[in-house]
């Protein structure tokens, strides 16, 4: 990991299946739902999908919102950019890289507290999301909105493919989903319908933003 890359935040709590980190960048947007992030655990890197973002409130925010008819822009900016109102982002671990090989399995160890979190580059995302083994990890997780998360990560993975490879990627993803959800047509239908519009528009995919 290049230490010059901006740190998105640091781990607050973690488990084998995922972790939550506090977002600390005052001047940038937090990573999007379904974005791929990474952190170091020992000599390996753990990759995960962002599946939840919570903006915590506090007594001062509640008081001001409840008792003010209008909020000055300065106060809004102060609340958003200067106060330590925490944004907590939850991540589902989907794999790890060790010795140059990417394994789409739960990592052997969760990240330690205060471990820095980084956004994955498009190239990293393409390498990690090439295999569809992580689909089962997402579908089996009860804490995250698994259908929506899968759709978002598939779209992200397609956007990271070389020119002309997005549609083959999506077709491959669809086949894997069909295999996994052969006995759950409702769930399969829900995911494929969400992907259909994106599939039809793949000839004009926007460049995947960093993170």
């Amino acid at each position: 990991m290049n230490h010059a890359d901006p740190v998105l935040g640091r781990v607050l709590r973690s488990s084998t299946t995922g972790y939550t980190f506090g977002f600390s960048q005052a001047h940038t947007q937090p990573p999007a739902f379904g974005a791929l992030v990474k952190t170091a655990v020992g000599d390996s890197h753990v990759f995960g999908l962002v599946y939840d973002q919570r903006v915590m409130d506090d007594a001062l925010v509640r008081q001001i919102v409840a008792s003010s008819d209008s909020l000055s822009e300065e106060r809004i900016q102060d609340m958003r950019m200067r106060r330590q109102t925490p944004i907590e982002i939850s991540v589902l671990s989907i794999g790890y890289e060790q010795g140059g090989t990417i394994y789409q399995l739960l990592p052997p160890h969760p990240p330690d507290a205060l471990q820095p979190i980084f956004a994955c580059t498009p190239d990293e995302s393409r390498r990690v999301l090439t295999s569809f083994q992580y689909f089962r990890t997402v579908l089996d997780n009860m804490e995250c909105p698994s259908e929506e998360l899968l759709v978002a990560s598939i779209r992200h993975g397609a956007g990271c493919q070389p020119p002309g490879q997005a549609q083959p990627y999506l077709i491959g993803a669809g086949r894997e989903l069909t295999r996994l959800l052969a006995h759950d047509h409702q769930r399969l239908d829900a995911i494929l319908r969400r992907l259909a519009d994106f599939f039809n528009a793949t000839h004009s995919l926007p460049e995947v933003p960093y993170g």
Binding site: L60, I64, S67, S72, E74, R82
Partner: protein, 439 residues
Amino acid sequence: MIPCLEVGRTHHLRPPLAQSCGIWYHARKYVLALPPTDMLELRKLLDKVDQMSQDVADRQQLYGDLAQEARAVLADTRVDEELHAKITAAITAESTWRGARPLEGALDRRINPQARAANFSLIGVDGSQIYPDRHGPVLYYLLNIGSIVMRVGSGQAPVTDTRPELYYSEADLYDQNLNLVNNEWVNGRRELAEMRALADLAQAERLYYAGDLEPMILAMKDGQLTMWMGERAQSAEKKQQLVRYIACLHDIQQVGAVPIGFVGRPRSANVVRLLWVARLPQSEITRERVNSSKYRALTDRALFSALLGPNQRSALFASTGRVNREDFAQAGQRICFFYLNIARSNDPAAARIVRVDLPEWATQSPALIDKIQNAIYDDCEGTHFPYVLVRADELAVVSQQEKRNLDSMLAVSISQITGHMPLDSAKAMAKSQSRHYAT
């Protein structure tokens, strides 16, 4: 439910009040059933609580009558040479008399501000401290000054900062008599640090405006503008602190900014004392009579709560306290004040009377006072206290957990050098263990 809040009450409180508080009031027998191991045995206080409640109610009635009488005196007293002569006589009779000298033509003026600044800077500073702890692992004290600079009307995010300083040298910890500095000493240093921060920020803010003196800059601190420690400044060291404090006011003035002291729940009685002296015949202004005010239980806040409407300010006064009339006045920084109602409702029962301190040189322009008043009133929107001071306090506050973290950090760092881990005293450790269940 936290047991300590489950206080058995009688019928003194009206059900709507109890309900509005969100606290369920149970019969006395509930309190009597509280476990006997509670640290504060509330059951032993039930009768006293009832007596106190009745006493408070009785006194509220008495004070209400006194306040009404005092307001009549306020309205009837003329500001003329006779009144000023009485004030001078009171000071002569009792040098520590903290009354008020009016700076305007009527004591009961109520002023609605006209002028309002469109774009200006509002600076808020507050300080917190860790006092020297004889029983802690390491002897030190800490000051933490929080600040925020809001450029009102700009739409910009404010500039925030904290300045923590650790004091651990022998010169910091011991006075000239080799006694460990006490909390009052630390408070004085904190006051000075707050004022220094205000002066520095005011200077920086004027540079932001490229030296243009047109934009208003208000530099606000929580509490009175006169240095509290200065009232009892006896030693040379304390005098020196006072000199440095006043120099900060001068620095703020030099950049065309205005220092403001905001007192959110003033307990001062300067104007009330003035009214008592105003009632006395000139020949009866003796030390004994000056100190035997009939209105001594009243505060200025009680006086003005029924007088000032939302965003109305009182007349200007100057405290006659020794430090203000000598040290501050001689340096050209005599501090004046006015009372302001920051409530949004016209209901007199909902009045929120605050006191605003500012130097006399800033009161020469009525338009400037109007702008200051409006700026403060607007900044209290939603928080009932200046937003910049709320945030400055939030930035400055040092929690107990943070203190423990700092103590641990110091202990580890010292042990890495000395090979020995500094520990709390046996007393502190025993108290920490015995109080575990109470917290």
